[in-house]
């Protein structure tokens, strides 16, 4: 608990430094690259590490409300409002760690400083998104992320990546327009409020029709931009063109940050049933559509991208339930998603082709395949792995809250989980195929090549394409090491479920705090900072 105003100011400055460091490094990147390319190559990781250090210095033992602060003149409609609490720090650290994990490594790029700049700006934007305390701030940070993603999509410099970037720009533009309209409506609808600041007006409890429409528009806009919900057609192009490191971020940590921000700022039960229904509906759609796309996926990037879409849909459903139980389920799902999704993408960084290319991989890389099996088991929810508990909590929460749309969401979760399981099992079956040939992915048959019982011919004795692929498919040792650590985390979490959930519980309580209480603290802190300044 930080008691004094000076202490709070120091705290806020350190948080701001964490946000600003990657951004500042991005601005100096090209200049430094012109002077000293070797140093520029290390600037990005160093900036990210420094930001992580700054965040870690804040510590995780926050008071319930955390610390809120605003940038800009008091009363200005566009001042940036941030809040640093336990969940924000954890999410911010995750964003930085994921960026660092998927940092470019000894690979050939047409424009290395441009790539590094975009990655740093993306990290900065994600960090701002993690700390954003209102929709305007979140929107601005999301725009930063959006343009960085566009730039990263274009770094390959080919026609396909250009098309993907254009698609993202087009749909992102629609999303921005909808989000801006929604935020505007929210501001207008609360204009008569007696609350002193716009950000507080945005968060005020109300059930007015304009607010509901505004929230819905903002939600769709945010979702479209982040590829969070079903309105993400740009992701179809992106999965063909983007490198896996970018897909890992846009399908994992970025949607998580968006949904958390939306849930924290608006959907904490303050906007009434309609807002929660909207979030629930979009989450259910995303879960089913992601799982259906997973079943349809023929390429590895598409498979993992849609996996993230389905998981993020479930996170949105959990947030939509409202109250502490829903937030608890959402936080548990997020924690599981961040660990498993990053590890899976880490392993798949060099797997950009068809899923059938992985046929027989387990014979050459048993550890990698075994780790993937563990991740898949946890992902689809096999007891007693952590993923099972997270999904069970979601189901119980939905059942506890009763019928109506919750029953629809329950059905969506069960359907999505079944489709995920079927898709994963098909994927693993291919991984453990005994033949080194490249069989077609056809779940309608259990015929194994060379099965004498079914009259198939024996497998060809000559080497086939998969043999040549294996050395190209081997993940980098850092990714393998990280995946093993993540697998160990999953296994260790099983006996430590009690303490872990106690920790998650405290984070969930923070998310579920009423918005009015948070606004009060922001005002209180602003007045105290003014006193210090005076």
């Amino acid at each position: 608990m930080i008691a004094s105003a000076a202490g709070q100011l120091d705290f806020a400055l350190r948080a701001l430094a964490a946000i600003a460091l990657p951004g500042a490094a991005a601005l100096t990147m090209r200049l430094l690259h012109g002077i000293w390319p070797g140093a520029a190559a290390w600037l990005g990781p160093l900036a990210l590490l420094s930001a992580m250090g700054s965040l870690l210095s804040l510590g995780l033992g926050f008071s319930p409300g955390g610390i809120g602060f605003a940038l800009g003149a008091a009363g200005s409609p566009l001042e940036l409002v941030f809040r640093v609490d336990g969940l924000a720090v954890v999410l911010g650290l995750s964003a930085l760690a994921v960026t660092l994990l998927f940092w470019t490594r000894w690979e050939d790029h047409p424009d290395p400083p441009g790539q590094a700049m975009s990655q740093l700006l993306l990290a900065s934007g994600m960090l701002g998104l993690a700390f954003a305390a209102d929709l305007v701030t979140a929107w601005l940070c999301l725009e930063l992320c959006f343009f960085s993603t566009c730039a990263l999509l274009m770094t390959k410099g080919n026609l396909r990546s250009l098309a993907a970037a254009l698609s993202l720009l087009r749909w992102g533009g629609v999303g921005s327009a909808l989000a801006a309209l929604g935020i505007g409506l929210l501001l207008v609808s609360s204009a008569g409020s007696s609350l002193p600041s716009p950000e507080a007006r945005l968060n005020q409890p109300s059930d007015g029709p304009l607010q509901t429409i505004g929230f819905a528009l903002a939600l769709i806009g945010f979702g479209t931009k982040a590829g969070l919900f079903a309105l993400n057609p740009w992701s179809t192009d992106a999965e063909r063109a983007a490198p896996m490191r970018l897909l890992a971020i846009v399908s994992g940590v970025l949607p998580v940050l968006v949904s958390t921000t939306v849930a924290r700022t608006l959907a904490g039960g303050d906007l009434g049933a309609a807002a929660n229904d909207a979030l629930l509906l979009i989450g259910a759609l995303a879960a089913v559509v992601g799982a259906a796309g997973l079943w349809q996926a023929q390429d590895i990037p598409a498979f993992f991208l849609r996996l993230g879409l389905a998981a993020n849909g479930m996170v949105a459903i959990a947030f939509s339930v409202g109250g502490a139980p829903g937030q608890f389920a959402a936080v548990a799902l997020i924690a599981h998603l961040l660990v498993v999704q990053t590890a899976v993408f880490g392993l798949a960084q060099r797997w950009s082709g068809a899923i059938s290319d992985l046929s027989g991989l387990a014979t050459r890389m048993p550890v990698t395949a075994g780790v993937l099996v563990l991740f898949a088991a946890s992902w689809i929810g096999i007891p007693p792995l952590p993923g099972f508990w997270a999904k069970l909590m979601l189901v119980i929460v939905l059942a506890e809250d009763g019928g109506g749309l919750f029953s629809v969401a329950l059905l969506a979760v069960l359907t999505a989980t079944t489709l995920e399981a079927l898709a994963w099992l098909r994927f693993l079956r291919l991984l453990y195929a005994r033949s080194r040939a490249l069989p077609e992915i056809d779940a309608s048959s259990d015929r194994q090549p060379g099965d004498p019982q079914l009259g198939d011919p024996q497998p060809p004795a000559t080497p086939v394409r998969a043999d040549r692929w294996f050395h190209l498919l081997r993940p980098h040792w850092l990714d393998r090491a990280y995946s093993v650590v993540a697998a160990a985390l999953l296994v260790t979490a099983v006996p430590l479920l009690g303490p872990l959930t106690a920790q998650l519980n405290s984070i969930a309580l923070e998310v579920a705090r009423p918005a009015a209480a948070r606004n009060e603290e922001v005002r209180d802190f602003a007045s105290r900072v003014s006193e210090v300044g005076g």
Partner: protein
């Protein structure tokens, strides 16, 4: 912070808390049972790699059986384990009653026999003959995995049978499914893709169960069996229908009931099929009894359709007729199966239909028939699976020549077949007799009893024909000119001993069914169905198996014994007439000679020659095609071309929500 936590009903406590309240001095037999199970898993992990330690694992199952027999739950009070878990505010406890005892007894017994078979099959001699687990690489590693998977399957099943509430039931069944998957994957006789298919369908069923569980929780506010039972009358009609639909989907998939039987695995090589046929394929009946009979009750189950305003929708009748259809389909496919393994698989499915029919009929005789069938089928199918699949791991009816069988072995197989058919004086006869008696007596069926009896009789006839095909095939001596180079393996004592034990038990429990009927009466008392009036030799005033056995012996022995001696002398004469070379090739003292029946061509029905595999693939192909179409439609609806429409639809829905005042 304190106030905030106080206002939150949930989750102010961690998701899962382990509570252990026992000390070494106060260990109950139930605790010992679980500890013995875990100890066997540990032994399998550490020592399962070496064949010489396999008897230790068998002894582990023996210890489990000892602990189970010391848990006086069959006639006494239910026993609660000291280990308890609190998950999502729900206590998860394990308690054993007579029903748990019955299923646990079957499971441990099956594991005991399977372990004995595995010991024999892992011998170097069996390896030279390519019997049992035949990996391409490290053989010991595969046996290691098999033993670990078997021990895990037993522990998971013991947990399932001790479920104290719905959550424990779901958790236990999930663990059982994944442990069985490991067991199937550790048995190369079953293709890995078939095992994964099993996992896929089972997981689908698990989601159905989870849905039902969530809806029950929604209605009752608890996952406790008793509270759920109390809350049933207050559930809405649609709510109740959804629960039943989810339950039927989940249990149907896991029981391979119609029309959800696409995942059937093709077992070919022992010892995994021994365990699978003995209990694995029917473990779902525990859930049927606990959920449909004990918790929900068939009356409520039947009334769900009426409460929806559709009096024609009698879900119990649907269950009964599904079981009847399953009987017909299973035995029909068995009759036309292309290999002994497939024949046994389909036959097992048909028998599952009989068990489902018996449980669906309910009543004193019906429930007794179902439970007794589980016991009888466990004994008979395990013996048949172990025996026939040992002799014929890769044989097909069309391509392979027959196998010689010793007289003793043939007797074992014939007893098992007789029990499957329901011929006296085996245990299977008692089960079938009870079913027929229920079909004739129950007022529930009215006129429909006659078509059901006809279907049961038709199933019996086709079972007889299928088993005759199998018997003819295994009695044919090997033909050295057929191009089939597999020599008939010699049955070792290690395999023969447990199978002989199973057959002896089938006969003994058939002649003196009293003890088994006593268990069943205890279970009927527990699940609140009319209790069977039993005596040591059968049903009081209705059936005396001792008399049936004596009568049968008096009629059949004067016919069979002279006939057997005549055949034996003929068999000795034939090789001598053919010359000394023929004597060297066949062992007349161990092998049944070719008879006129053996020379008859084994002709499966023409329409089903490719048979079972193709049928399964067709059914599954349809399912997969449907799934493909559905997912493609969903995915394309949200794709690039349709995204704007999806966006518009979403906005319209928002407006609707707004207008409707939600």
């Amino acid at each position: 912070m304190t106030m905030l936590e106080a206002q939150l009903p949930w989750p102010s406590v961690p998701i899962a808390v382990l509570s252990v309240r026992w000390s070494w001095d106060a260990l109950s037999p139930l605790d010992l049972l679980f500890l013995a199970g875990l100890g066997t898993v540990g032994l399998a992990l550490v020592l399962g790699r070496w064949r010489r330690f396999t008897p230790l694992l068998t002894a582990g199952y023996g210890v489990q059986f000892w602990a189970l027999s010391h848990a006086n739950v069959l006639t006494g009070e239910p026993m609660v384990a000291s280990l308890a878990l609190r998950v999502l505010r729900q206590p998860v406890v394990w308690r054993y009653d007579s029903l748990s005892w019955f299923f646990a007894m079957l499971t441990i017994g099956a594991a005991f026999v399977t372990s004995l078979c595995a010991f024999s099959l892992s011998s170097p001699a069996a390896d030279r003959r390519s019997i049992g687990i035949r990996p391409a690489g490290n053989r010991t590693g595969n046996w290691h995995r098999f033993h670990v998977a078997l021990a895990l399957s037993v522990v998971a099943s013991l947990g399932l049978f001790g479920s104290g509430n719905l959550l424990a039931l779901y958790l236990g069944w999930e663990l059982v499914v994944w442990a069985y998957l490991l067991l199937l994957l550790a048995s190369p006789g079953i293709s890995a893709s078939a095992a994964l298919r099993y996992a896929g369908y089972s997981f689908f069923g698990g989601m159905g169960l989870l849905g039902a569980l969530a809806l029950l929780f929604q209605g009752a506010g608890s996952l406790d069996f008793a509270q759920v039972r109390q809350a049933l009358p207050s559930l809405g009609a649609l709510h109740g229908f959804m629960i039943v639909a989810f339950l039927m989907l989940g249990i149907g998939l896991r029981l391979t009931a119609l029309p959800l039987l696409g995942w059937r695995t093709g077992q070919r090589q022992p010892p995994a099929p021994v365990f699978w046929h003995a209990i694995g394929a029917r473990v779902g009946f525990y859930a049927v009894l606990v959920l449909l009979v004990e918790t929900l009750g068939f009356e409520w189950f039947s009334g769900v359709g009426s409460s929806l305003g559709a009096s024609w929708l009698d879900l119990r009748s649907i269950l009964i007729w599904s079981a009847a259809a399953l009987i017909v389909l299973g035995v029909w496919r068995a009759w036309g199966a292309s290999s002994p393994g497939a024949l046994l698989g389909w036959l097992g499915l048909g028998q599952t239909g009989y068990v489902l029919l018996a449980f669906s009929l309910g009543g004193s005789f019906g429930s007794a028939s179902g439970l007794l069938s589980l016991f009888a089928l466990g004994l008979a199918e395990a013996a048949l699976a172990g025996y026939c699949l040992f002799l014929l791991p890769h044989a097909t009816f069309a391509k392979s020549s027959g196998r010689g069988m010793s007289v003793l072995a043939l007797a074992v197989a014939l007893i098992a077949m007789a029990s499957l058919l329901g011929l006296p004086p085996t245990l299977g006869f008692v089960a079938k007799w009870l079913l027929v008696a229920e079909l004739l007596d129950t007022p529930l069926l009215a006129f429909s009893r006659w078509p059901l009896l006809g279907i049961a009789g038709f199933g019996w006839l086709l079972t007889l024909l299928a088993l005759l095909r199998l018997a003819r095939f295994v009695r044919r001596p090997p033909n050295p000119t057929s191009g089939d180079h597999e020599q008939p393996p010699e049955m070792s004592h290690g395999v023969m001993a447990p199978l002989l034990g199973l057959s002896a038990l089938t006969l003994l429990a058939g002649v003196v069914p009293g003890p088994a009927l006593g268990w069943i009466a205890a279970i009927q008392d527990l699940v609140a169905v009319p209790v069977l009036d039993w005596q040591l030799t059968g049903i009081e005033g209705r059936l005396n198996m001792l008399m049936v056995g004596l009568l049968e012996a008096a009629v059949l022995l004067p016919v069979l014994v002279p006939g057997w001696f005549m055949r034996r002398s003929k068999a000795r004469r034939q090789p001598l007439e053919a010359g000394p070379a023929a004597v060297d090739q066949g062992d007349p003292t161990r092998t049944m000679a070719r008879t006129r029946a053996d020379t008859l061509p084994v002709t499966p029905p023409a329409a089903t020659v490719p048979g079972d595999e193709a049928a399964v693939h067709t059914q599954e192909g349809l399912l997969i095609s449907g799934l493909n179409a559905l997912t493609a439609a969903v995915w394309r609806l949200t794709g690039f071309a349709s995204a704007s429409w999806a966006l518009a639809a979403m906005l319209i829905f928002m407006v609707y929500l707004l207008v409707s005042g939600r």
